[in-house]
């Protein structure tokens, strides 16, 4: 029953964290200079025009009122309307621009991002396991040293450099992959995969580097441990020792690294989407931030924060289930 209580506590904490995220995001946007009206008008922002659009966007209402309206809707599943793309009709004012709810705007972009993240994870898991095992098992060989160097490079080189590097080599020079990832236009699944390859490889490279580094360390220590030495001395085949005796004990750190990687993905996609012109939630968030479109910013942030919090919650619960010492938490 102890475990149930821990689960309940952690879940409650996650909800509190999400509410905190929404509060911080909302007031951070409030603190930024300007608002959606001035950002939209840009150079055309005369005081009268700004006042006119602030009224249409309901920005003249007090911040507390706007936040409580938003959070009340949000918990009921109504994510509101974009300030920029829908101007609520006020008495006597002309009707709004184009009626698109935040859900309409976010769902297609989120789908694209999830596909990209899934593709990157599918490549990442077997790749990092393989490289981890090979570099640990053959650590005395030249090719393993080469692989390790590559892994360190993957960790050390910033992901936008990797992205531009891949773009120049594989899109411009070799023309194997398209430069623009216009996945909404892909005619076939194959075409879509091709468009997703370069951005996904960029993400995979950074994640693999990190996971392999984590795994190498634990695999090395496991390989040097007495029970593995004993298994080897007993005459068991090297492959068997590796896969059945050493690997399971090294998987813990790899799993933790994966959780950290998924969390990292949340931020990583934003950058990769910009470089590859990938129509995902990262580009959307960037656009919304430039225009201070609060409802879109809030909804996107809540989604990204949920991924973050859920991953950590999952990791905590799994750890609690596995490790009796943590259950009392």
């Amino acid at each position: 029953m102890h475990f149930v209580r821990v689960t309940g506590q952690r879940t409650a904490l996650a909800v509190v964290a999400l509410i905190a995220v929404s509060l911080i995001t909302f007031w951070a946007v409030e603190l930024l200079p300007g608002d959606a009206a001035t950002r939209m008008l840009g150079r055309e922002a005369t005081p009268e025009r700004v006042a006119h659009f602030q009224e249409q966007m309901n920005l003249d209402a007090p911040a507390v009122e706007r936040y409580s309206t938003w959070i009340t809707g949000f918990v009921q599943g109504d994510w509101g309307e974009s300030l920029i793309q829908a101007r609520p009709k006020t008495e006597g004012a002309p009707a709004g621009r184009i009626n698109r709810s935040v859900t309409d705007i976010i769902v297609p972009r989120l789908t694209n991002t999830l596909q990209l993240a899934a593709f990157a994870l599918i490549m990442y898991i077997p790749l990092s396991l393989m490289i981890g095992i090979v570099t640990a098992a053959y650590r005395d060989r030249a090719f393993a040293a080469g692989l390790s160097t590559l892994v360190i490079l993957g960790c050390a080189v910033p992901d936008f450099v990797i992205a531009i590097f891949l773009l120049i080599i594989f899109a411009v020079a070799l023309e194997w992959f398209p430069a623009l990832s216009l996945v909404d236009q892909a005619e076939t699944f194959g075409a879509q995969l091709r468009m997703m390859t370069l951005p996904a490889v960029t993400l995979t490279a950074a994640m693999t580097g990190f996971a392999v580094r984590q795994m190498q360390a634990s695999l090395m220590s496991v390989l040097n441990s007495d029970y593995v030495q004993f298994a080897t001395l007993k005459g068991l085949p090297r492959r068997r020792v590796m896969l059945l005796h050493a690997l399971p004990n090294a998987l813990g750190p790899a799993l933790r690294a994966t959780v950290i990687n998924v969390v990292w993905l949340v931020g990583g996609v934003v950058l990769v989407e910009v470089v590859f012109t990938y129509p995902g939630i990262g580009l959307l968030l960037l656009d919304a931030l430039r225009l201070l479109d609060t409802p879109v910013i809030l909804a996107s942030t809540m989604i990204l924060a949920s991924v973050y919090i859920l991953c950590n919650l999952g990791a905590d619960l799994v750890a609690a289930a596995l490790n009796p010492r943590l259950r009392t938490g």
């Binding site: 950002r39 005369t46 430069a179 623009l180 910009v274 012109t277 656009d287």
Partner: protein, 562 residues
Amino acid sequence: MSDNESKGIVKRTLSRRKFNMIAGGSVLLAACGDNGDTAQPAATTAAPAPTTEAPATTAPATTTPATTTTIAATTTTEAGATTTTAAPRPLKTLRYGYHAATTSADTLDPAYRTSSTDGLFQTLVSEQIVRLDENLTPTPHLAESWEANDTGTEWTFHLREGITFHNGKPFVAADVVYTFQRLLDPDVASPGAGGLPGLEPDGLTAPDDYTVVMRLTQPNVDWPEAITNSHTRIVPEGATNADLAAQSLGTGAYRIDEFIPGEISTVFERNENYWQPGFPKVDFMEVIAIGEAEARLAAIRQGQVDILSEVPLASVDDLEADPDIEIVTNPIGSQSVAYCQIDVPPFDNNDLRLAIKYATNRPQHSDLVYGGRAHLMNDIPLPGLIRFGLGGSREHDLAMAREHLSRAGYPDGIDLTLTMAEMQDWTVWCPVWQQQLAEAGINVELNVTPADTYWGDQWLSAPFAMTGWNVRTVDHGLGLWYHSEAEWNETHWRSEEFDADLAAARSTTDEAERTRLYHKMQQQIIDEGGHFVPTMYGFFSAVRAGVTGWQPRGVYYTIDIP
């Protein structure tokens, strides 16, 4: 299957996804609507568009017979018809790589145009009664002709007949009246209202369906030029904000049934009822907005776009070396400009302003910032290339610069702070200029402020700061930047004589006298104004081999707000 049937299918089923299925990439040719009659004639592809035919997978799976549409791809070969029906005309798509990211604030409504992206979209779907040609001279468009009374206070425009809007409504005088009255309506709050000095809502009348009369409260002999401002594209009578935002509602060469702002790719289809014969030249015009510079260059090199609207000047040489790409230039472009407020010390001293002007090395500035491709300017954002333009450029003269600096009371040099942001080409422009001024003892510190809020927080309030202007007509520019009451008078130039000269130039029909007055005003600004304009860069566009008949037209950039 006939052409018409295949078009019918396109029309009936076209949606974003479906467009994607039937019209992938293709080799193309085009000239887009407004550009139409000034584009080079005879737009042809070097080779027939290579296409393959395939059954449309998007046709409704019910009773519709097997239909044939064209899937075009740059790498496929002519495969001929594979179905039992006759081959339709191959559909042509022009993929236009645009040099900035789209945003969710983009709109098709001319009244709310705020960016050059809006300007591009609106140029495709809607038109003005008068528009500017390459030299920024007004030419007839939806109006065939016009005349004024002797004093320039009453203008009569004769409209073309037989034009229809995208929704099928015929284009008549009431639409013109509605469009302008809507711009002036305070409830609409259009930024375009300020561009129509002297026009009141009740000054607009329509004596018959094809005549519009505009009565002005003050004379303006160049009124047709004034109404080419970027907000005056004609919309049908009664169209609401919501109508105009969601779809195209103009007379333009292209149409779009569902406009979603902020998409990376936006597809416009041809307006089958377009009035100019021979246009549009393609079936689909796909605008692909590419915010990232590397991706943009990669896309044109790789052929993922057929045209790249604006090539960064640093990459022009590289692209020119590519045999598959041609660079086309529009000499009239845009300019980064520094301004100072001439009523704020120390800038209230004209000797200091002259010292800065003499210390500016224009040829070197062009070399270092624009690879030697820029046009040399003379401290006013109006080049000599346009009607009434003055031209020339001040010689670099360090001795004169130092002398003026001494006369201003700073024999040992002066420290100034230039406010800027990391946007446009300022990150190169400013340091180069900073170095040049330093040689004359003018030490400029760069105050880098956030780009997102630059226009709202710094511009117009910082006394010495960066700004940027597309080229406008001389009259429009002088009124916009130097009239005492102009909203955008960033240099605080206030002169009754200047205002009177501007009014006089607007009310005389004597071309020689107008030229004299416009030149006099420009010379005053050059000698005493608070603008520092070393260079103007033209627009360089990249075009893939096989696309012909397309010319970049500066006009919707040049008259429009950046």
